[in-house]
């Protein structure tokens, strides 16, 4: 339970950071921001890697594999798409 | 086609129908231009400048007889002949009778006053150009005759209050008068019967004077004002009296096409003004908006200076001629495309402006004024 509170603390602090950082983003960058943060939400990939690699059961491995694929699509696609969007903002 | 530009003969007229600057646009399309010697002198365009732009100079009036088109400012029929085309101001709506004399010469006359107020005719709209100059000059005249200054100045010798200017009738000239008076630092208010004008007045930074009059149908489809009955004008005068009394300068431009200008300022209202005030009556050529202004004169009555000078555009002949010439040139290029005028064309611009032809008055509105004659 001690641990839970610490974890919660981290959660709360991260929310604060998120809030402060995001409110500074100008409206034009909202779309790239959405897609960029979407890519970050693919962080579940880390969990997926563990699930698929620890090979407890076939089921976990299968679930893990699917999760890895899903999360990787999210991560790779997300960062690339964001990059493409941002390229439009470059000085011509 | 050969265009001839006579020297204007109307007394005090200093404008000229074509200026050297527009000649290339005409000669480039195959027109030739013949200028009566000294025609542009009074406006600041010596013969030499015309020659430099490719015109020939006619030593006398008689040498113009051969031209196909006579371009003039104040139309005067002298020397016209059958087959000739004449373009200029002929004042057909106020003096339709004189038009019959013009028609009798057999020439085809185009009246610049009758230019339709449609978008594509804007660059031929000489009434607008001349009104622009008249509006500006009205304010300069007022500033000259006013015993005060226009702008507010706060100085070590006290504060000079700004002149209060009231503009009645806010067409082209009225708007320009407002803008000019505002530039000089006057406090400007204005009134017009047409409801659309309110926003326009504000768009040049002046205050619109709201009078509780019914003005719903005051604008015709061409953007001109409709005539109102005398009871309307009476009520308008009553309501305006207070504003007029408080003003240092009143500039009137109210007009209704084809009618005598409405009387909006009576002698009684003039008496109510402070000594030294100035009224500039731009409607004077249509009879005046003030019943005691004297055409062509500056008079003082009841301590108020009444400016009734005529033909203000001619007091800035350089720019007035430049604008008029642009209008005329654009018009000629429009009606005589390909070096020939198609009198049967259904073109609205040609139809509306063509006044006389083959000895007849052909313009419908003028014919109507003449009693269908």
């Amino acid at each position: 339970m001690e641990l839970l509170v610490t974890t919660l603390t981290i959660f709360v602090l991260a929310i604060f950071v998120g809030f402060e950082v995001i409110t500074k983003v100008p409206p034009t960058l909202h779309t790239p921001l959405m897609s960029g943060s979407n890519a970050i939400s693919g962080i579940t990939l880390v969990g997926a890697v563990l699930s698929s690699g620890t090979q407890h059961t076939t089921l976990t491995t299968a679930l893990g594999f699917a999760a890895v694929v899903f999360a990787t699509i999210n991560v790779v696609g997300g960062f690339l798409v964001t990059n493409r969007m941002l390229a439009m903002f470059k000085r011509k | 086609m050969l265009i001839g530009v006579p020297k204007e003969t109307f007394p005090g007229e200093r404008r000229v129908a074509l200026v050297p600057g527009v000649l290339p646009s005409l000669t480039g399309k195959g027109f030739e231009v013949l200028i009566e010697t000294g025609a542009g002198q009074a406006a600041g365009f010596p013969d030499g400048q015309y020659e430099a732009k490719g015109a020939r100079i006619a030593a006398s009036r008689g040498d113009l007889a051969a031209v196909d088109i006579v371009a003039q400012v104040r139309g005067a029929a002298e020397g016209w002949r059958e087959g000739q085309v004449a373009v200029g101001f002929y004042d057909p709506l106020s003096e339709p009778q004189t038009i019959q004399a013009l028609a009798a010469t057999g020439a085809a006359a185009f009246s610049m006053e009758l230019m339709p107020r449609i978008t594509r005719a804007q660059s031929m709209d000489a009434l607008s150009s001349m009104a622009t100059i008249a509006g500006y000059k009205a304010v300069i005249l007022a500033a000259e005759h006013l015993p005060r200054l226009f702008p507010m100045l706060m100085t070590a010798a006290g504060t000079i209050a700004p002149a209060k200017v009231f503009v009645v009738g806010v067409g082209v000239a009225g708007l320009q008068a407002i803008a000019t008076a505002r530039r000089l630092g006057g406090v400007v208010s204005a009134y017009d019967v047409r409801p659309a004008v309110r926003e326009q007045v504000e768009s040049v930074g002046a205050k619109f004077v709201e009078l509780p009059l019914e003005t719903e149908g005051a604008e015709d489809k061409g953007g001109y004002a409709q005539a109102q009955d005398e009871s309307f004008y009476r009520r308008q005068r009553e309501m305006m009296a207070r504003v007029v009394a408080e003003s240092d300068v009143v500039i009137t431009t109210a007009a209704v096409p084809g009618r005598k200008a409405p009387i909006l300022i009576t002698e009684e209202m003039v008496k109510g003004m402070a000594p030294g005030s100035v009224i500039v009556d731009l409607a004077i050529e249509r009879g005046g908006n003030c019943d005691i202004t004297a055409p062509g004169e500056v008079v003082e009555k009841h301590g108020v200076t009444l400016v009734g000078l005529l033909n203000l555009p001619s007091t800035a002949p350089y720019h007035a001629s430049q604008m008029y010439a642009k209008n005329i040139a654009t018009f000629l290029l429009h009606i005589a495309k390909g070096g020939k005028i198609d009198f049967e064309s259904e073109d609205e611009i040609l139809r509306e402006t063509l006044l006389t032809r083959g000895g007849q008055v052909v313009q419908p509105r003028v014919k109507e004024l003449l009693g269908g004659a």
Partner: protein
């Protein structure tokens, strides 16, 4: 690799995510920000691969390669215009991954038989619920935007009631899972119910409101990741997830505010946007008019080398001349070339624009006549049309029947981008619609002229 080092690396990755998002606060740093985010992700994944608990890499590598290939192809192939549905789709995958990971963790715990911590089961239930809603909701959003299913709001009687019931059963199942964590069935049932909920929540929302929904789902996917973090006791997941969660919520709020609607209204309001403008105008404008915020325009202006102002009657009506001059000066100070294109009949009297611009002290040299300026538009980055309409109406060139046919106009449509400032789509003096407003390179900025320009000034100052 010892767990301490792994955790330290996770901390570094978390910091990179934060810095990455911070980078998004300016166009100049945004690209770098995105790269920092990606770098954080790379570190996180590489470090995880070094975890001692991993015994086989085949599945992992296979999954990574497959996923990366699909993701890259999707990202590269997609049309710029299809970005919204792309984001929706990717987002869905993220939510799906959460469901799967939480499921796997549950199975593991069951297999290990070491007993279930309440904290962990609660988190697992939340993962399943939020992840499921995200996955299926995103799929529906994708389908709508990609025109695979109707873009209109699908509404049927009793929809709200049904949704409420489904939501209730979801809660019930979640509680069930916490009480009986050893039952995999409850888990999958929960996922199934979450799917229905996701579909129900999204299907009733019109195409125009989709961006709001996507943003909300984005937030959910973050929360799902966070929940997974609680499941796996992984701080990095918690941090990254909550960053995304916060970002999504804020964006959703901002969007709702911009649409002048509450979130509730968007989610439960049903029906799409109301139709705009009147009869004939509809053919010209119908759905093709794009409007922009001052900030977006400011970004364009920030990098513009030549800006042409085209003033018209609306500038006069709103007396915006002083503001316009201030903006012009600001842009000049930033190194742009600024020109005023004055049409001969702009306004309502000859010289109307001259009077006003002179009042505002715009130097005469900056005013160019139509003939001079028209050939310059093709080398113009941004034309700002402020309260002009007829004088920039291309119909004058194309439709001989139009009342303004034959009037020479200012060829603003030739410039790279046209910004039109006016209050509405109403016509000008001539009373006819203006196809310029619906052109591809036109952005409308609907506002009173003076206010609009002042807003632009503020935005340009911000942007730099």
């Amino acid at each position: 690799m010892p767990p301490v080092l792994i955790n330290l690396a996770y901390l570094v990755a978390s910091a990179l995510f934060i810095l990455g998002l911070k980078g998004m606060s300016h166009p100049r740093t945004a690209v770098r920000g995105n790269l920092m985010g990606a770098a954080g992700m790379l570190i996180a994944v590489v470090v995880t691969l070094l975890d001692r608990r991993i015994i086989s890499y085949e599945m992992i590598i296979g999954g990574l390669v497959l996923g990366a290939a699909i993701g890259a192809i999707l990202a590269i192939r997609i049309q710029m215009t299809a970005m919204p549905q792309m984001v929706a789709l990717l987002n869905g995958f993220g939510g799906g991954a959460s469901v799967l990971v939480a499921g796997a963790a549950l199975v593991e715990a069951q297999v290990a038989g070491a007993g279930f911590e309440t904290q962990m089961t609660v988190a697992t239930a939340l993962s399943a619920l939020i992840g499921g809603v995200t996955f299926f909701g995103s799929l529906i959003a994708f389908g709508k935007l990609q025109d695979l299913i109707t873009g209109n709001a699908v509404v049927f009687p009793g929809q709200h009631l049904l949704s409420a019931l489904v939501a209730l059963s979801a809660v019930g199942l979640a509680v069930g899972l916490v009480l009986r964590p050893e039952s995999m069935e409850i888990y999958w049932a929960l996922v199934g119910v979450a799917a229905v909920l996701g579909v129900l929540a999204t299907i009733g929302i019109g195409g125009a409101d989709m961006p709001v929904v996507i943003s909300l789902l984005n937030s959910y996917s973050g929360l799902a990741a966070s929940a997974t973090g609680f499941v796996l006791q992984n701080n990095m997941l918690i941090i990254a997830g909550s960053l995304v969660g916060a970002s999504g919520i804020i964006l959703t709020q901002i969007m709702c505010k911009a649409m002048n609607r509450s979130l509730a209204n968007v989610l439960f309001g049903g029906l799409g946007a109301a139709p705009v403008a009147g009869a004939k105008a509809d053919d010209v404008y119908g759905g093709k008019v794009k409007s922009a915020s001052p900030e977006e325009i400011a970004i364009l202006l920030d990098s513009a080398r030549r800006v042409v102002f085209v003033p018209g009657y609306g500038m006069a009506v709103s007396q915006a001349q002083h503001a316009v001059r201030a903006l012009a000066k600001l842009l000049e100070d930033k190194g742009a070339e600024v020109i005023f294109a004055v049409h001969p009949v702009a306004g309502r009297m000859p010289g109307h624009m001259n009077v006003l611009l002179a009042e505002a002290d715009v130097p005469y040299e900056a005013l160019l006549e139509m003939d001079v300026v028209n050939p310059m538009f093709s080398q113009t980055d941004v034309s700002i049309v402020i309260g002009a309409n007829d004088v920039v109406n291309p119909v004058a060139r194309t439709d001989p029947q139009s009342p303004i046919a034959g009037m020479p106009i200012l060829d603003v449509d030739k410039s790279r981008t046209v910004v039109v400032i006016k209050r509405s789509l109403s016509p000008g003096f001539a009373g006819i619609p203006n196809p310029l407003f619906a052109a591809d390179n036109t952005l409308m900025f609907f506002s009173d002229g003076q206010k609009a320009v002042n807003d632009l000034i503020a935005a340009v100052k911000e942007a730099s």
